[in-house]
């Protein structure tokens, strides 16, 4: 393994420390709970939006804390759900009179921790709700899930609920919006290579020189099938067809289209995929209202990409258009 790492056990804390040092005016880091929160939070006049997950998916989610996006993120170690007390303490710290929304991708480990945190914080009188995101069409029950997995589509849910909260929506309204966006969001990914967790030091799974994993999970979990390497356009087809058929998306639909890099794939390739996906959608009468190309929800250094489609309506599009101030600097 060749990575920029000192002690693998300190990988996540050192990353979070760097993130906070790079954004001293906007972010606060609470080392006890791996907590990255808005320096000016919690805002007592809005619903607090909190996301928890394992690390290794950066920029998700610690790097999207900021005005108009998350109020806080409390990740676990690489690919591990945060321990219960991180979530519980974070929830208490982020408590606002308008309530707290916990956003969680649907994985068994995370679900158990967040359900329990909701149960215990509610018992203490905090108004808290949990919303599970499950946009991945690749597989139903899978390695770490009962039901579908949550992947890069969570960015759209986060952005929409965060914008609604920023506009002053109450907790019920924020949840209505989150559920609505989740219900029209579909994703699927393909891995070209396996990822290497710093603490493991070797690839998490085996993928042959000429093999790809279609429908891969963001922790390297198996997807639909192994296939022989194919052209970029064929790979787009493998991802786009199941996504489009699942909702289904159809003629006349307006969508947000995201090409998400899984960590090891250069953005040049992502734009190449974007072009093909955009054109294939156009052929089916589906027009792209908003485009997103880059790394959003990664799997460490895995080479690969996922496609996410969101069916837009005026409400969702308007929420996605709202400003956000997060550490990803435009330059």
């Amino acid at each position: 393994m060749k990575k920029f790492v000192n002690d693998p056990k300190q990988f996540v804390p050192e990353m979070l420390e760097g993130l906070a040092l790079a954004n001293p005016e906007t972010l606060k880091y609470v080392p006890e709970y791996n907590l990255i929160m808005r320096a000016d939070g919690p805002d007592q006049n809005k619903v607090s939006i909190v996301q928890g997950s394992g690390s290794g998916h950066e920029p998700a989610h610690v790097m999207i804390v900021g005005k108009g996006m998350l109020d806080a993120a409390c990740p676990g170690d690489v690919f591990a759900a945060p321990p219960f007390d991180y979530v519980y303490e974070t929830t208490k710290m982020m408590a606002s009179p308008k309530g707290v929304l916990l956003l969680v991708n649907n994985y068994t480990g995370d679900k158990m921790v967040f359900d329990m945190a909701q149960e215990m914080s509610s018992a203490e009188g905090i108004q808290v709700r949990t919303l599970f995101i499950n946009d991945d069409v690749s597989v139903e029950d899978s390695t770490y899930t009962i039901g579908r997995r949550g992947v890069a589509g969570n960015f759209f849910v986060i952005k929409a609920v965060a914008a609604a909260a920023e506009r002053g929506a109450d907790l019920d309204e924020v949840i209505r919006i989150g559920e609505k966006v989740n219900s029209v969001t579909r994703s699927m990914g393909v891995a070209l290579t396996a990822c290497t967790p710093p603490a493991k030091g070797s690839p998490l799974f085996e993928l042959g020189e000429d093999e790809i994993e279609i429908g891969v999970g963001i922790h390297g979990e198996p997807g639909r099938r192994r296939a022989a390497m194919m052209s970029a356009n064929e790979i787009v087809e493998e991802m786009l067809t199941p996504i489009v058929q699942d909702l289904p998306f159809g003629d006349g639909d307006r969508v947000a289209l995201m090409i998400n890099g899984l960590g090891g794939t250069p953005i040049s390739e992502l734009y190449l995929l974007y072009g093909q996906a955009h054109k294939r959608l156009a052929e089916q009468g589906i027009s792209v209202g908003r485009s997103y190309v880059g790394e959003y929800c990664t799997s460490l250094d895995m080479a690969g990409a996922s496609i996410t489609l969101v069916k837009l309506d005026d409400e969702i599009e308007s929420l996605l258009r709202d400003p956000a101030e997060i550490p990803m600097r435009v330059f």
Partner: protein
């Protein structure tokens, strides 16, 4: 609720904790057969915290005490066991709130609440080859003994015997939950690690009861 109730509960919790710490290696080995081998480590770290903080827990009443145990355990254990065991103690705490004294019936309702909490939390059903396949039938047996007016010692013995038998019997099941489930059919033929761990813990509790 009397001071004796709290003392008994403390004894049970302390024995669970001490067993988890003492048997770290054994529980890990059990989990390594078809699981990922981290059960011993997880339980030991969680219950170690319980032992460390032992003096500091508030002892106003049984529910308060158990709720703090829940928090201590789940703050230290990652993976499946943290929220599962934490939930078990939380739900037992809630059940204890509804009774005046921790008698046999109260023990049954606390065990049931704990088991149901774990089912709700982890989504497992009976037959999925988890600790529930030992705990639930043993609780049923305890209830039967109480209904038949068995003595306390008799009840404990029956409870311990059933939990052990049922734990061993999980060998015939295929794991559907937790990391062991990734082994699929390969999991048939060896017992569930969590179930055996529970059985060993309960055996220690009954064996030591009279010297508690």
């Amino acid at each position: 609720m009397t001071a004796t109730d709290l003392a008994d509960v403390e004894y049970v919790v302390r024995t669970l904790a001490q067993t988890a710490v003492d048997k770290e290696k054994e529980f890990g080995d059990l989990d390594a057969v078809v699981g990922d081998g981290d059960l011993g480590y997880s339980l030991a770290r969680g219950f170690e915290k319980v032992l460390q903080d032992w003096e500091s827990f508030k002892r106003d009443d049984v529910p308060t005490f158990l709720q703090q145990i829940a928090l201590a355990i789940s703050s230290r254990i990652g993976g499946t066991s943290g929220p599962l065991w934490g939930t078990a103690f939380l739900r037992a705490s809630a059940a204890a709130k509804t009774v005046d004294t921790i008698d046999g019936a109260a023990a049954v309702s606390m065990l049931r609440a704990a088991a149901e909490g774990m089912m709700a939390r982890g989504g497992a059903s009976l037959g999925d080859k988890t600790l529930l396949d030992a705990l639930v039938p043993a609780t049923d047996e305890l209830e039967r003994q109480l209904a038949a007016d068995a003595g306390a010692a008799e009840c404990r013995a029956a409870f311990a015997k059933t939990v052990r038998e049922c734990a061993d019997a999980t060998s015939t099941l295929e794991a559907k939950r937790g990391r062991a489930s990734y082994s699929g059919e390969r999991s048939i033929g060896s017992p569930d690690a969590g179930a055996v761990a529970i059985a060993i813990m309960i055996e220690r509790i009954t064996e030591g009861w009279d010297q508690r």
